[in-house]
Amino acid sequence: MIRTQITTPWSLALLALLSLEARAAEPKRVLMLHAYNYTFPATSTIADAARKRLLERLPNMIEIDAEFLDLARNADASHEARAATFIRDKYGKYPPDLVMTLGSAALPFLVKHRDTLFPNTPAVFTSISPQTYAAVRPPPDVTGIVTDFDLAKTLSLAEQLQPEARRLVIVAGSAEIDRRWQAIARKMVEGHQRKFETTYLFELPYSELAAKLSSLSRDTIVIVLTVLADSEGKAFVPAAVAGDLSALSAAPVYGPYDTFIGRGAVGGFIETFESVGIAAADMATEILEGKAPSAIPPRTTPSQHYRVDYQAMQRWGLKEGNLPPGTVVMFKQPTIWDEHRGAVLAGLFVVGMQGVLLSALLIQRRRRARFENLLLASEERMTFAAAATGIALWQLDRDTNNLWVTEHCRKLFGIGKDVPVTREALLANVHPDDVEIASRAIQRSFDTEQASVTDVRIVPPDNEVRWIRIRARRNSGDNGRPEKVSGIFIDVTDQKLAEAETALQRREIAHLMRVSVLGELSGSIAHEINQPLTAILSNAQAALRLLGKKSPDLEDVRDALEEIVHEDNRAGEIIHRLRYLLKKEERKLESVNINDLVRSTAALLHNELIARATGVGLDLENRPLLVTGDPVQLQQVLLNLLMNAMDAMASTPLARRHILISTRGAESGLMEVLVKDQGAGIRPLESGRLFEPFFTTKDHGLGLGLTICSTIAQAHGGRLTLVNREGGGAIAGFSLPTQAPAVDAA
């Protein structure tokens, strides 16, 4: 009995204890208020993560309920009212300690009906955009996670993966949330720097949407936003839509949602729903532990990242290298290397070390022989290749004066097989005039970093003269002192011959043109020479007659003889001028006074001008205009310009036929000869072609005159111009650089 009595209070105490314990451990009740149904991927992921986290943080203290408002499938107000009534009836008596909303539609629902449901219960929301948050304006004891989607970053990820893309397609449905996305997308595209050919697939029936996506070109970026409903009012789950569209789309699909990844979308700049759930659960924990909800401000996007699906990237052949740094790559199959890197490395290392040890001796032994062979082969290859291209290689040692050359040198320098190739043997075959040049060029190479190039003539015994180009460059020794000069010999005879040939041809043509101009002038020139000859003959015959008289006037005879001398000189001068123009010599540079040249050219044309009834005026600079050039060629230019001026005035009335030649020295170091005629001028169509070879406006012209004159002008550092003169006619200008002005006495 006693025992029983004793037992009873113990039992009572135990019960009391137990009940105390039970009261103290009364679980906190959390209601997960889902906006959509149980299988809605985004909200269920958040909910799962949040549940797991809550159970971790507050073990044995949490009771979780869930209600699914199903607001997407049933968008009508009566459904919402019925749902509110249902929740009030169900939880009114025992309100939860905390409500967590999942999905963006759930928070407006809660805020709207909170007073009738559970007015004092704090709430934590998730999946709310900044816009929704601002619109709903929840009371202070409602806090949560604001998700700020940065759609531009999703697009930028797509751009980096598809740099060649030119088109952009954006998909959104017809539900309220979808329409919110539409506005965001349009704004983002407008503000985006790079402009795409953008198509918005909004407000379409699902079948049409699918058809459109399947016919896209590969260079398109597809961004799928939410499709909660299509234009026909059919309800959809966005993640499922993204998955289906990814499968049938002809171009890669991107999206801003975590749940799209793994369903075929390539990726996006994404907040994982899991991290949202965890963050929301942490907030809930704080509130359940007693912190005032109003003291916990809403948090925005705790962990957004670029996220991509490796499998989807593989499907489209997108390169991992194009991903922005820090991108989370998901679903990548790890390779053996990835998984067991340490073990593989260790194994390889051991095997490698053994191999090295085993090989070491062998290598050591064979190394020397191999390198020797390699070196020999390399040298042979190089020598062979050089010889094949006609190049001989050489090297000269400064101290020993030893010359190393390749075999091809014999051929280039014409050295016999039995003669050793030495420096002396080479120099022996160099043209005597060039020996000095050759040895100086090589000697100079010791003093400069610059590679030197020298051409010398080689006179091999019983053979033609050949041109050899010597390229030389020094090699510095270890102490930086130039010890060796090395280089190549190459036969440039053909090149030299071609150059000479070209120069010769150019000279020949210029000469032929002079001859042809003089041919045209032959009549005038004959007359020009005839004048002094006439004067000489008449003077001589007059003198003879005078002397035959009984009392000859010796004074008159002397005058006649003096005239003869004078006129003879004059004839000589004309002939000299002609010979000058007719000779075929290389260009000779002299100091030429252009004024003198103009005067003598005008004199040469004196009779031609008369024959063509053309007047000529000279307006020459007062001081001598000195240029450096070939007087023959310069006169050829003047002669040509004057002939052209005369030709141009063939149909000008006699009274107007006049040529004005003026010379001017400009400050800029250029002097200019201008030949102005009163002819027909230059027709616009001709103006661009006047200096073209074989272009002529004359009936019997060759079309080479101005071409050659222009070449001569350029060779003298000058220019030939031809423009129309104001008021009719043309002006031919011939500019040349003047010599440095002579020291003026004044």
Binding site: Q531, T534, S538, Q541, A542, D556, A560, E563, H566
Partner: protein, 205 residues
């Protein structure tokens, strides 16, 4: 002849002008040298006997044009000798057709030049003689009465006195009187002289 035969020399080349002047003067010609056609034309006097020696190629007015100007000026029958540095055939043909005495190519040999000038001298003298004769015949013709002139034309045409009387409606005797008075006035004695005189005057038509 009161004035000496003068050579008008025109050449734009001063050396040639001087030399030719010297040569002609050495042959004792009177020479007037001109370095341009304009200077020559300004001083030229038709009355002075002489000839022109002209260069063909000259600036401004060439020799052939100068020849034309000379021929065109009334009363001038100045003989012209051309000298040219460029003796081309078309120019020489034109010059000769226009009445040039000769067309010489430079350098001119003195004998050729003198020969041409003596031709010119003869031509000038003859044309001057003809001119004088013409002038004296014309003066005599002025003294004839209209009837005597009519008779003159018929005589020159070879008509007999009887025929002339018939033509003019008079008697042979009257015609005889007119005829002898007319021949007296003109200073001819034979019909042959009369015909020659008429030829000079070109009266045959």
């Amino acid at each position: 002849m009161t004035e000496k035969f003068t050579i008008y020399l025109v050449d734009d080349d001063p050396g040639v002008l001087k030399a030719l002047s010297r040569l002609l003067r050495a042959r004792d010609y009177e020479v007037k040298p001109y370095s341009s056609p304009q200077l020559f034309l300004a001083e030229h006097d038709v009355a002075v006997p002489g000839c022109a020696v002209l260069d063909v190629a000259m600036p401004g007015l060439d020799g052939l044009e100068l020849q034309r100007v000379l021929t065109a000026s009334a009363g001038s029958h100045r003989p012209v000798v051309f000298i040219t540095g460029k003796g081309d055939i078309p120019t020489s043909v034109r010059a000769m057709k226009a009445g040039a005495i000769d067309f010489l190519t430079k350098p001119v040999n003195d004998t050729d030049l003198f020969e041409a000038i003596s031709h010119a001298e003869a031509s000038d003298a003859q044309s001057r003689r003809l001119q004088l004769e013409l002038e004296s015949i014309q003066a005599k013709m002025e003294t004839l009465t209209p009837r005597e002139r009519e008779v003159l034309l018929h005589v020159v045409a070879g008509r007999l006195n009887k025929q002339i009387a018939g033509d003019l409606g008079t008697v042979e005797k009257t015609i005889k009187v007119h005829r002898s008075r007319m021949m007296e006035k003109l200073g001819v004695r034979t019909v042959a002289d009369l015909v020659r005189m008429a030829g000079v005057l070109n009266l045959s038509k």
